[in-house]
């Protein structure tokens, strides 16, 4: 007898194994989650889960890493009512998880290509599993670039991992900040300036971009100016996702539902909508 399909609206119980503060002050934190009974629903890089705090509410959060030991990592920014309550939870507590939902980053389609990962702010979190994947399968890809922009040095996420990736000689990691004091020795300027430096083969590159929508708009312009075709640029979009399965319509974006047709889209599908202000 085949197993009954899981009800996508029914959260499963997960235990918070650990909480890690990613920034000073705990504004951004990562949860390592393990299912309470049963196996982990393994997602793909780029997909998201609906995380549900009992009695408080539910939020869509992209997968930040897939633990090898049957755990799942989500990186959350304390930015609203639900996430503020989530920030107060500790290891050992229980949450509900629905998912994984949505489309994934094109890690298979990127094989044999240069890979450009362009992240802004907390947009590094949804791209992190891609970095893990391409580095674990390094021989399948040509040059790999991680171009990461954030507001200031204190806001750099996954600092230890970034240092580790930088220490490898098979990935180009560039980090830039919008503002810095005199002690900062790294790049200053917006992330699009890193794209303009080039070094990649534009016709043979797959770009994956994640960050605030304005930043993505300018990143797309820089990528196209360098010669990367629109169909080879992928963006992760964010809207008010509630049901996560395309029923409720809250995340409608033109003819798309971000939750089920996205969140990852090739830019040539979004291009006609990207500058429509009403969306």
């Amino acid at each position: 007898m085949s197993a009954r399909p899981r009800d996508p609206m029914l959260p499963r119980s997960y235990r918070i194994e650990s909480v890690e503060s990613e920034l000073p002050g705990g504004e951004v934190f990562s949860w390592t989650l393990r299912p309470r009974g049963g196996e982990l629903e393994v997602g793909q890089p780029g997909q998201f889960n609906m995380l549900y705090q009992l009695g408080i509410g539910e939020v869509p959060i992209s997968i930040s890493a897939l633990g090898e030991d049957g755990t799942l990592i989500h990186t959350i920014r304390d930015v609203g009512g639900v996430t503020r309550n989530m920030a107060a939870l500790s290891a050992g507590e229980e949450i509900g998880v629905r998912g994984p939902f949505g489309t994934a980053w094109p890690v298979a389609a990127a094989e044999g290509h240069d890979v450009l990962l362009v992240a802004g702010g907390i947009g590094l979190a949804p791209l992190r599993p891609v970095i893990h994947h391409v580095l674990a399968n390094r021989e399948r890809y040509r040059r790999i670039f991680l171009l990461y922009g954030t507001r200031q040095p204190a806001d750099i996420l996954f600092r230890k991992e970034l240092e580790r990736w930088r220490g490898r000689f098979d990935i180009d990691v560039a980090v830039t900040v919008d503002r810095a004091d005199a002690s900062w020795r790294g790049d200053v300027g917006v992330v699009t300036r890193l794209i303009e430096r080039g070094g990649f083969d534009p016709r043979n590159s797959i770009a994956m971009v994640c960050g605030p929508e304005v930043m993505m708009r300018f990143a797309v312009m820089s990528l196209e100016r360098r010669g990367v075709p629109a169909r080879q640029i992928y963006l992760s979009m964010e809207r008010n996702m509630q049901c996560a399965v395309g029923y409720c319509g809250h995340c409608q974006y033109g003819g798309h539902f971000i939750c089920k047709d996205g969140p990852v889209f090739p830019y040539d599908r979004l291009e006609p909508l990207f500058d429509v202000r009403e969306l």
Partner: protein, 157 residues
């Protein structure tokens, strides 16, 4: 073409320039090397040259009272350094300091301005290229001022 003109020809900034234009520019140019920590330009100093970075990185900094030297932007290979040489009063607005060993091609500014006056084809091409650079930098500066990564407005869950 001599060696320096050949170096220009390979720089994207000079793509589309004729051999004769490159030779004329080569007559105004010399390679310069700055060690880590050395200043290429100083705020309020005479903007007496135009530089194109070939290797290394340079940080532009402004002096802000109570805050000291504030980094504004980092420039790297292929980036032109400064446009204050193009417009009066020909003074640098910022400091530019090498973040590592940095090589540039430096063009003598007054000679460059004269060449642009005398040869309008050259002047037009150079101005056009500089306007592209200035436009991109202005867009980047505007984006930088938006505080993109701050908390988004509105009620979020």
């Amino acid at each position: 073409m001599d060696d320096l003109a050949q170096v220009f020809a390979e720089e994207p900034f000079f793509s589309g320039f004729s051999d004769a234009q490159l030779r004329r520019l080569a007559g105004l140019a010399r390679p310069e090397v700055y060690q880590n920590g050395r200043y290429l330009i100083r705020q309020n100093g005479s903007a007496d040259r135009f530089m194109l970075i070939t290797t290394g990185h340079v940080v532009l900094k402004a002096f802000v009272p109570q805050r000291g030297m504030v980094p504004l932007e980092t420039l790297g290979p292929g980036d032109p350094l400064g446009w204050s040489w193009l417009a009066p009063p020909y003074k640098w607005h910022y400091d530019g300091r090498a973040l590592e060993r940095t090589e540039v091609i430096a063009f003598e500014a007054e000679g460059l301005r004269q060449a642009m006056e005398q040869d309008h084809e050259l002047g037009y091409r150079l101005q056009k290229r500089m306007i592209e650079v200035i436009a991109h930098r202005l867009q980047a500066a505007r984006l930088q001022s938006l505080d993109l990564y701050g908390n988004p407005a509105g009620d979020l869950p």
